[in-house]
């Protein structure tokens, strides 16, 4: 299992567009990926579940992966979040 905490840079938080980018990337991974905030852990490939975490700018989220390519999945997703998920980072 791999796990890493990352801070969300998006000024408007994890709203629909970046959440979609994140979930689609997570769904493309071979590993099973989850994302957690404040103890709530959800399927990272589910845009609706990711939205329900109600993540705002500066929130710390934990990305965990299990199975084949878990390490690569976590580092790729962390990088995607740090780069603003297709949005201009703050």
């Amino acid at each position: 299992m791999a796990e890493q905490v990352v801070q969300l840079p998006n000024p408007s938080g994890l709203h629909a567009r970046p959440a979609k980018v994140f979930a689609e990337a997570a769904a493309d991974m071979d590993a099973e990926v989850t994302v957690a905030k404040d103890g709530d852990e959800v399927n990272a490939a589910s845009v609706l579940s990711v939205l329900t975490l109600d993540c705002h700018q500066g929130d710390e989220i934990t990305i965990r992966a299990q199975g084949q390519g878990a390490d690569e999945a976590v580092s790729a997703l962390v990088e995607l979040v740090e780069d603003g998920l297709g949005e201009q980072p703050a």
Partner: protein, 569 residues
Amino acid sequence: MSRHLTGRAAAPGVALAPAAVIRPPTVSDDGETGTPDEERARLDDALQRAAEQLEELAGHVNQELGADEAEIFEAHGAFAKDPELADRAHKAVVEGHSAAEAVTSAFESFRALLEASGSDYLAARAQDLDDVRDRVLALLSGGTLEVQAPSERSVIVAHELSPSQTATIPRAVIAALVTETGSPTSHAAILARSLGVPAVVGATGIVDLASDGVELAVDGHEGVLIVDPDDEQRDQVQQRLDEDARRREELESLRELPGATADGHRIELAANIGAEQDLADAVDAGAEGSGLVRTEFLYLDRAAAPDIDEQADFVSRVLRTFPDHRVVVRTLDVGADKPLPFVDREEEPNPALGLRGIRLSLARPSLFRDQLRALLAARADVGEQGGRLAIMFPLVSVPDELIEARRHLVEVAAEQDHDLHGLEIGVMVETPAAALAADRLASHCDFLSIGTNDLLQYLFAADRLLASVSELADACDPIVLRLLGDVAAAAHAHDAWVGVCGEAASDPTTAVALVGLGADELSMTRAALPEVKAALRGVTLTQCRDALSAALAQTDAEHARDVLASRPS
């Protein structure tokens, strides 16, 4: 008997028209529940078809209304494809529920979570979920999602108007929008304002009170509705309608007249075009061609670059729309904030200052040359049957970029054996560097068009979308007016014409100053055209120049604006 109802005012104006009640989509209960495997197959099929329909709708809306409006349907498509949603529905099916029941409960579980968050944004997404759920249910039951839109101009009444419903009602039939739920920021309210029709939201009970064909008076200033108004009430509403109509008629009577000052100094008044939908509206508003045709919508939200034919088709349609006028097409203007899957590029910490506009085009010449090929193909195709094509390069900051862009154009023209004679080439002046180098740029091109939105943003280092700093940048600031005057003088010294295609051109007060400083053309959102035309026809060129001089003598934007607004008339 007439009935009063009060809701919340969401878009100004008054309307008096028969009601057309939009019912929720029909879902027929098919009764029979199949085996879990059968139900699961139906469920997966309905979810997949819903996702496909929504992606198609997103593509359609992107073409018609632009990328921002399409975003919501892309999110809807992602909701329909959500693996966790499907998982929850599958579990319900295994427990013996029908596909419809399973879908309803799966959506409901997410709806509850989103609503419980206490976030307005997520609560609004909960409403989006209902829209997607209804689509899936309609697909499952063989029911319909099609809105039964009225054929004559009506007050559209609904419990709630989903974005996908509003996108399918023909705009010409909408006299006003009234909903039981919603806020002034709901889709219906935004649509109403963009159409210039009144809207009232939060009108609880209106769906039961109004039925198809019953007359409705809508006051979008006060948020008041009168169902089946009596004679006296009709008279009052009619009076206000008459006043509005008189003003519109005044403006309408100017429609066919060219843009000019009271003493006959000619100013071309053109419309900005950002999507197919804008064309008819621009013609309606009496636009003299377009001073800014944005081409980004052809590129955004797609996996592969648009082919030359598709681009050329669009440009041909624009040229044919304005057979007697000039059409200024701006080449692709995107930055790292709008990454295109088919353009390989680096991530950037600061896209506003990165590889965008002409910089991207010059760095990706095959993409740029395809666009130039499409523009020339459209020009050749339309010939004398359409308007005069002009090509504008965005975000130029040094003359070399213009020279390099021209070189590509000349090479592409030679390839196609295309005669460039009569084709105007220009620069969109958006960077302070370009504004200060106006004389050098003007010596290499036919026109300069000032993009005030970006120019102001770069001049004041203030993001115009950021409320805390956006007020710093005002087009009426004396230093801005002085700079724009210098740009115009430099252009004229080289026989280049000067346009303004930013938001500043759409404000009647600022427009007077722009004419005073020498603008030959103003291009704006079409809704602003009639008022700007009326304002300019009310002043002489000398008055514009005097107003500008007075504004230039002020110490700040606020005072300059006051001086311009109190110009003699």
